[in-house]
């Protein structure tokens, strides 16, 4: 069965007996047909395991550059929602003794890549999130001091572990690849990482403590 060139919400794409509904599609139970739920060009990915069915999906489209406020970039007015497991880049807004408040700026899709090579999407709005004290580090959790891991303004790579409560997503940095990736010193200079827990200011020569993300 050939897929239509362009799909719009409600367009039947194929029977659920031969396809699996992927992102951008949904299953209508009464007719057991997979319908499109967003507008776009439908694609199907071949089955990963033998005996399983190909997945139908519709990739989300960005607004056309003629209409977008910033042309030739992937900044859009549409948000990609962080889900459990997605890698995010965020900025620290507040450091408390029990938790670190951050805002999510960029959302990457698949976990495991840690944002390497994957297409990140810049959020139109900032999503509130927290890194709890026990989620900062994987080991010796009870000895963690939040102020020795983060400072306001740091850019942090984290993974969403929960949708959290009413306002905050919960993130973790408890892995080698996760933590602070960009930081400025107290003097206001950009610093570079020198160890798993230290950044160095090239101007003053002083070091500051951070939960440093392992560079790729």
């Amino acid at each position: 069965m050939s897929l239509p060139d362009l799909a719009y919400p409600g367009l039947p794409l194929g029977p659920s007996s031969s396809y699996i509904p992927g992102p951008g599609t949904h299953l209508h139970l009464e007719s057991s047909t997979i319908h499109a739920s967003i507008a776009g060009r439908p694609t199907f990915t071949p089955p990963t395991a033998k005996g399983s069915k190909p997945t139908l999906s519709i990739p989300r489209l960005l607004p056309s550059p003629t209409h977008a406020p910033i042309p030739s970039s992937n900044v859009s007015n549409t948000n990609t929602l962080p889900t459990v497991g997605s890698v995010v880049l965020c900025r620290v807004t507040r450091v408390k003794s029990k938790q670190v408040d951050v805002v999510i700026l960029v959302v990457y899709g698949a976990e495991g890549k840690f944002g390497r090579g994957g297409e990140g999407s810049v959020c139109a709005d900032e999503w509130q999130a927290v890194i709890r004290k026990e989620d900062i580090r994987a080991t010796e959790k009870e000895k963690v001091v939040t102020a020795e891991g983060f400072r306001v303004g740091d850019v942090v790579r984290g993974v969403v572990i929960s949708l959290g409560d009413q306002s905050n997503y919960y993130l973790t940095t408890g892995r080698n690849e996760l933590g602070v990736i960009m930081a400025k010193s107290e003097a206001g200079n950009k610093m570079y990482p020198i160890s798993w827990k230290e950044f160095k200011d090239p101007v003053t020569g002083e070091t500051e403590r951070r939960k440093v993300a392992k560079p790729f």
Partner: protein, 389 residues
């Protein structure tokens, strides 16, 4: 003297008062020229508001008038614009929501009707918003957007009124928007909001389309069922019904009926005129309007897919060829790459970066020289393919 606000001039002004052109004469009401099961022509376009996540503009055909061309004599048509903002984070005070929270707002522009509207939403606007919300809630797949909200804002730029403006000027006070005109406004709101939601890329089970049907009576004629009534076309509207309809699942998300249906079923004609017949006709109107909506979505999506729209004029100028020649060359190459023609495969590696360079030319026209160098490769390939065919 109010010191906290900007005060007007001390002398005071009087608003201009225009003389009525109709000079008290009542013109005959404009007549419906289309058939009973024919809807008005619709203009619909998506993606017109750059700052919104999704947007759409909706307009109904202005009915032809047999009066003079005076501005006050024209029959108002329906013009709506819709913007969708979101999905965006909920305010901090809002409780946890596992679903997308929908909020709708309908506002008449102050100049939408002959009677000026205030800035504070009045009851008819809140009413429309509530009806719109029920119509849209049924199509959204809310579970895909937890902890977020979406705002649908509709501005009525021009609303339909119950009788033509010249009749209003002649002292007919029934002509405010708020009567039968509300029905077509709601129907338009549903359609335009559906287009804007699709433009914003929010998951929906189907497109929802508004449709209106009405039972009308002309003097000395039996009552009649018509689709998409224009209030000023009809002497008397007995009942009307708006629905929000999902065609692919044959479901109705919103029904709003008004008028006296029992009184109209006195059976002068052969058509049955119960509530069911009215709803059936409204569904028919929605089905007819769906084609326009689907076509508008298709156009908007195609524009997005073409994404980096290539400025063929600039490329043509840089290459000393015509704009159309540059375009044809691009599409021929793209087709060859997509189809993976055996003749095109050896050059595939070379063509892909060339195409990318072309896209860059769009964003940076200053680099015409660079493009020129790249295009030499392109041109050679284009020639090859031409010979191959």
């Amino acid at each position: 003297m109010d010191r906290r606000r900007v005060n007007g001039p001390p002398g005071g002004t009087t608003p201009p008062c225009y003389a009525s052109t109709s000079s008290g004469k009542t013109h005959p009401s404009s007549k419906r020229t289309r058939g009973a099961n024919e809807i008005r022509k619709i203009f619909l376009k998506t993606g017109l508001t750059p700052s919104a996540s999704g947007s759409a503009y909706f307009e109904l055909e202005t009915p032809p008038t047999n009066h003079s061309n005076s501005l006050t004599n024209r029959t108002p048509a329906l013009k709506l614009t819709c913007t969708v903002h979101g999905p965006r984070p909920l305010p901090r005070s809002a409780p946890f929501s596992p679903q997308l929270l929908l909020s709708t707002r309908v506002k008449f522009a102050p100049f939408a009707a002959r009677q000026r509207r205030g800035y504070i939403p009045d009851s008819s606007e809140r009413d429309l918003a509530a009806h719109l919300e029920t119509a849209l809630r049924g199509v959204l797949i809310g579970e895909r957007w937890p902890k977020s909200g979406v705002d649908v804002v509709i501005t009525v730029l021009e609303g339909e009124e119950d009788c033509p403006w010249h009749a209003l000027a002649a002292g007919n006070q029934n002509g405010r928007t708020g009567g039968w005109g509300m029905m077509s406004i709601l129907s338009g709101c549903i359609t335009v909001a559906s287009a804007a939601l699709t433009d914003a890329g929010i998951d929906c089970v189907d497109v929802v389309i508004g449709g209106v049907a009405a039972i009308v009576r002309q003097p000395a004629a039996p009552a009649q069922l018509v689709l998409d009534p224009c209030p000023s076309d009809h002497e008397e509207i007995i009942a009307a019904c708006v629905i929000g309809y999902l065609q692919s699942r044959d479901e109705v998300t919103e029904t709003w009926a008004k008028g006296n249906i029992t009184a109209s079923s006195d059976g002068m004609g052969t058509t049955p005129m119960g509530f069911d017949a009215l709803v059936d006709q409204a569904v028919e109107a929605a089905v007819a309007a769906r084609r326009v909506l689907v076509e508008a979505i298709r156009e908007g999506t195609e524009a997005k897919i073409q994404g980096s729209q290539i400025d063929f004029h600039a490329i043509g100028a840089a290459l000393n060829i015509k704009e159309n020649a540059a375009r044809m060359r691009f599409y021929r190459l793209r087709k060859a790459i997509e189809e993976g023609e055996p003749g095109a495969t050896p050059t595939k590696a070379a063509t892909t970066p060339t195409k990318r360079k072309k896209d860059q030319a769009n964003s940076d026209e200053g680099s015409a020289k660079k493009v020129k160098d790249e295009e030499v490769v392109d041109e050679a390939e284009g020639g090859e393919e031409g010979e191959g065919n």
